[in-house]
């Protein structure tokens, strides 16, 4: 059970950051994951009054406040166009509308969950994160940081540079956690393929062998998928075994590439 001694709504990020330095403090996103924990929280820091629940556009990026809900991502026309629908596809299987109205982008990325659909897609989109203390860094660098560092995730930046994007996931049953996630992005002839729910944290892979260099077609997609599935570190958990994941990985990557290029 989660117990909370004190609840605060900081009026500035500085105040939130100072409060979160105490070991017994936690930052609240949508609280959906926190709620599952058995922990005694001293101060619960609610970021809801810091105006971080908007998606803004700059010439280069979509700037997503940490308190933006997964449902906002799903319904945003600009993100839909940028990702050719992959944004909605990545979140629409996460439990239900009522859940996605609560779950935040910040909580989903800060948690660095192995099963995360959001982390999988955002890695493929070359996202950058803005941390209050540590500043700007790539999402890929952020997920490698030690968890002990107490900071506030303020905003997430998604480059608006056009790219082809596709998102696919495999689940044992609708609305369950995924058994494998796959996001592929292709820009200037370069392909980035991210595999998540391995069941470990999502990892990005390039086309190191140049299997797609001459273009994506049924044959090159199948060759790339076979090669990738052979080298992705995968494991087993109660939802799926390693062998199953490897077969699913090859199928998702091949299908994803074919779907992306419409070939």
């Amino acid at each position: 059970m989660l117990t909370i001694r004190e609840y605060v709504r900081p009026q500035t990020l500085e105040e939130a950051y100072t409060l979160c330095q105490k070991k017994s403090s936690v930052v609240l996103g949508g609280m959906l994951w926190l709620r599952m924990q058995n922990s005694q929280v001293g101060t619960a820091i609610d970021l809801c009054e810091l105006g971080l629940n908007h998606i803004e556009e700059t010439p280069d990026d979509y700037v997503i406040g940490t308190m933006v809900s997964l449902r906002q991502l799903e319904q945003h026309p600009g993100l839909a166009a940028l990702t050719q629908g992959a944004m909605a596809e990545a979140v629409k299987h996460i439990v239900g509308v009522q859940f996605r109205n609560l779950a935040t982008v910040g909580g989903s990325l800060y948690g660095r969950f192995g099963f995360s659909d959001v982390l999988t897609l955002f890695l493929a989109l070359d996202a950058r994160v803005e941390l209050y203390h540590a500043g700007m860094m790539s999402l890929a660098d952020f997920i490698g940081m030690p968890r002990q560092q107490r900071d506030i995730l303020v905003r997430v930046y998604l480059p608006r540079a056009p790219r082809r994007v596709v998102y696919l996931s495999q689940r044992n049953s609708a609305t369950d956690f995924p058994t494998l996630t796959c996001a592929i992005a292709r820009q200037n002839g370069q392909t980035c393929c991210v595999i998540g729910a391995r069941p470990m944290r999502a990892m990005a892979f390039d086309d190191e062998k140049g299997l797609l260099a001459a273009g994506v077609n049924e044959t090159s997609a199948a060759a790339f998928a076979k090669d990738l599935a052979a080298r992705v570190p995968l494991g087993s958990n109660l939802r799926a075994g390693e062998e199953y994941r490897r077969l699913a990985c090859e199928a998702l990557v091949r299908r994803g590439l074919v779907q992306m290029e419409g070939c």
Binding site: G30, V95, V97, T175
Partner: protein, 161 residues
């Protein structure tokens, strides 16, 4: 701590602990249509509208709802009455336990999308679990309601011509 919110159109001021869940808060205020099902953010039974948006009250602190508006089925009877008989007519409910959550989320769906396709209905209600039925009865009920509304609209249009 003191919580002030608008519950079903009524201004409420009440004491709550920092970790009191909205679910327990509204039940303590007499809104017992809001039920605890899974308590793990999975079943949708505890759905309320927070500033008009459907959320899981088992996973929201009452403290976060401070200063906001909350609606439960108690405050939405007339909106619910429009379609619940169509669901009942299909024999959709068996034990009926899931019903308040379904009705709340159907209200949210129809406000957001008054003419949904079957696929849109299924997608919107995917977070409402029912352990008795196969969901088809609920879908048929909502479809029957939408069809009857269209027929009435058509009849009215015809009468106006």
């Amino acid at each position: 701590m003191e919580i002030k919110l608008n519950l079903n159109g009524r201004a409420i001021t009440a004491q709550a602990d920092p970790d009191t869940l909205l679910l327990d808060f509204v039940r303590a205020q007499g809104c017992v249509s809001v039920k605890r099902g899974c308590d793990t953010a999975n079943c949708g039974l505890c759905t309320v509208l927070l500033d008009g948006v459907p959320v899981l009250s088992c996973s929201v602190l009452a403290a976060r709802a401070d200063g906001h508006s909350v609606q439960t089925l108690e405050g939405l009877q007339s909106e619910a009455e429009e379609f619940v008989t169509f669901i009942a007519d299909q024999g959709a409910d068996q034990c009926g336990f899931c019903n308040p959550g379904f009705v709340m989320n159907t209200i949210a769906l129809l406000r957001e999308n008054p003419d949904p396709t079957d696929e849109e209905i299924r997608a919107y209600l995917a977070g409402n679990l029912c352990r008795c039925s196969g969901y088809d009865g609920q879908l048929r009920g909502i479809r029957a309601y939408l069809n009857s509304k269209k027929e009435q609209g058509g009849a009215r249009d015809g009468a106006e011509k």
